[in-house]
Structures are given as C-alpha cells and as structure tokens.
C-alpha cells in the first residue's frame, strides 16, 4: 500500500490554510469532474484522488492525524488503536462526522481506508439525494463478417451475464446503451447504464465506409481489351459480371445492394464498389512476345 501525498495531489504546500485547501480542491474538482470528462478513466482516477485528499485535509482532525502519521501510517494506526482503547475505557469516546465538503459514493484508496476507515464518518451520506448509479463503459471487439448478420451474444460485465442482440450493420466505434446494467444507484437511486462501444476489426479484402463496401478487382488484360465475363466475390457469395471491351485500369463499377446491411433496416443494403485493376501478363513466352510486337507494328501502322 503506497503512501499518498495529499498536499501534492491538491498542489498546495503543507502550510496551506483552510481557504487555500478549499480553493485548490474546487479548482481540481472542476478540472477532473466526471461529468465534464466523459469516458476519461484518467480524469476519473484523478478526481477520486482529489476528492480523497480533500476529505482528509479539509477536516482538521483528519489532517492532524495525517500530518502526524501520514508517512508512517502503519505505526500511526497502531498508535490510534491504543489511544482508542484508552478513550473507550474512559467512556469518553465519540465519533465525529467529517463535515467535509465533498462528493459522496465513491471509492477510497487502501491508504485512506486503513487510516480513516473508509467513508463511515461521512456525515453527509445519510441525507444525500438519490442519484443514478455510475454508467459503465465496455468495448466489444468483433470481426466485420460477424456484424454482416444480426447476432445474439452473452456478455459478462462485473460477474453479471447480459444477453444482447447486435443488429447487423453496426459501425466501428458505434456506442449502444443498455439501460440499468451500470453501477448501482446511490441512496436508492436507479442503476446506471452500460455503454458498449463496438470495435469492428476488418480482416477481409473489403474496405467499408458506412454501408458501402469497396474492393479492388483484378481483371486480366485480354478480358479488359476484348470484354468478357468475370466472377467476383461479394460479401455474401460470388456473382458473374460482364466486362465491357476496352475497359481501362481504375474503372469503377457499382453493384447495387451488394454492400453492407443498413443498421436496423431489415433487408436494406449499401452498394459494393469495385475498382478494376488490369493485370499485365508476366513471364511471356517467345511466341507471346512475338505476337505483341506484331500488334505494336499494326498499331504504329
């Protein structure tokens, strides 16, 4: 368990008075507040530290204890236990609420828990308003071919199994909300929501933009010059295409409805756009070279 320098967390000297602590805390809280930094784990962590530092330093009793035993907390804890026993024997022990201004319902570091016993002394807890629980964020990695069709999956989030339906056509980076599957509500408030971000990995020969798919399609030189049929792999099978005579390199062909499914629109699909890549024949035989030279002569007339 590491010692936490609460003065450093708030960026104040050890001699700071109550007002300086409050100002520093307010400034830090405004900077790292989770509502102002959505989906920012680093800010959330920092905010908890700042809050914890304030819990300790804004309460004179806690601050005194921290200043006295902070670095040597283990020893301080033993000392406190002994003191507590003495006080109990004298029947004079009374527990005080912290009275500190701060944000409730959050985690404390092990260091804080061991020194101050968690948030038990937080007098504001009992009459805080009900708030919705924390929203959880999760990432789900899928392959492009997986999201071509609608599918059901069971996710485990915080030891809870959640069945979800992933509609075909979900986008890379798209966020879906699953109501009530986040953290428990505070003071009886409703549960937070679970946000799932989809990361779609693409290991296919197709590129995707929205509902359209793109692909380079090789066409041999002879078919490009003379025209003919080719067989093309689309996302859901092969199709036969007619290539016009005299097709140039880089020609684009749109296959309507052969793209990706449109999200939450059953039966609707984007387009597949093919870019013809004319293949120049390699390793020509002598006969072939001869014939090409013949063609060249005819062309040059």
């Amino acid at each position: 368990m590491a010692f936490i320098d609460y003065y450093e967390v708030l960026g104040i000297p050890k001699t700071a008075d109550e007002k300086e602590i409050k100002v520093a805390y307010r400034k830090m809280a405004r900077k790292y507040h989770p509502d102002l930094n959505p989906d920012n784990k680093e800010a959330e962590k920092k905010f908890k530290e700042v809050n914890e530092a304030n819990e300790v330093l804004s309460n004179p009793e806690n601050r005194k204890k921290y200043d006295k035993y902070g670095k040597d907390w283990k020893h301080g804890e033993e000392f406190e236990k002994a003191q507590q026993q003495r006080r109990q024997q004298q029947s004079q022990y009374s527990q005080h609420g912290s009275g500190a201004e701060g944000f409730g319902g959050q985690d404390y570091s092990d260091f804080f828990e061991s020194m101050f016993g968690g948030a038990s002394g937080h007098s504001r807890q009992s009459h805080r308003p009900k708030f919705k629980g924390q929203d959880y964020n999760a990432e789900l990695h899928l392959e492009l071919k997986d999201v071509y069709t609608t599918q059901k999956q069971v996710l485990t989030v915080n030891d809870k199994k959640i069945r979800i339906t992933i509609p075909a056509g979900v986008e890379n980076g798209q966020l879906i909300k699953i109501k009530g599957n986040g953290g428990p509500g505070m003071n009886g408030g409703p549960n937070g929501d679970l946000y799932i971000k989809f990361i779609i990995n693409n290991h296919t020969e197709f590129k995707r933009e929205g509902n359209n798919l793109y692909k380079d399609q090789p066409v041999d030189l002879y078919t490009a010059i003379l025209g003919g049929d080719i067989h093309v792999d689309t996302f859901d099978g092969k199709v036969k295409l007619k290539v016009k005579a005299g097709t140039g390199n880089g020609t684009k062909v749109k296959l309507k409805g052969k793209g990706f499914p449109v999200y939450k629109k059953d039966g609707e699909f984007g387009d597949l756009i093919l870019t013809y890549q004319i293949q120049i024949p390699e390793n020509l035989s002598e006969k072939e070279i001869e014939l090409f030279k013949e063609l060249q002569k005819i062309k040059e007339g």
């Binding site: 509502d35 919705k132 980076g173």
Partner: protein, 95 residues
C-alpha cells in the same frame, strides 16, 4: 403517461432541490417542463441530464449560465468525437 413523465414535486423531494431551480433551468432552455392536467412534469428522458445539472450546480458551484456553457461544450465534444470516428473509419479505406 405515468412511466414517461415525473412530476416536479416528486423530483424536488427526491433530489432535495427547490422547484424554482427547475423553473430557472426551464427558463434558460436546459430542460423542458410539460403541463398535464394543471400539474408540471418532466419527461424521464431528461432525468439523466437533470441529474448532471444538479451535480454541476451543487458540487462545482456552477450557476445556470455555467451549466448551459458546459452542456453546449459537451454536445460539441460529442459531435466532434462522432466526426473523428467517421473520419477514422474513412481513413481505413486508404490504409
């Protein structure tokens, strides 16, 4: 209707806020108050945002104008994030 709208009085009791705070939020256009059979309600879709406004007001001492600015900037941030994702996806076409 019961499940979609929550009365102002219920909200005030649950969140320990004055109805005048909700009126002020409504006047600045941050929430929409509906009047049904002479009672004021808020649609439940707005509750998550309202909770955020209460937290910003109570915990960060933000006034109404400050809350408005924060909400506008967060909306802009969401839009930019969305645009960034779209552009990143488009960039994958050329990778």
């Amino acid at each position: 209707m019961e499940t979609q709208f929550i009365s102002i009085s219920t909200i005030c009791v649950n969140y320990h806020i004055e109805s005048s705070f909700l009126m002020d939020l409504s006047n600045i256009g941050l929430i929409q108050i509906e009047i049904i059979e002479q009672e004021q309600y808020i649609h439940h879709d707005q509750i998550a945002d309202l909770e955020k406004m209460i937290r910003l007001h109570d915990e960060l001492d933000l006034n109404l104008e400050g809350i408005d600015v924060v909400f506008n900037l967060l909306a802009k941030q969401r839009e930019l994030q969305k645009e960034l994702t779209t552009l990143r996806n488009r960039l994958r076409l050329y990778e």
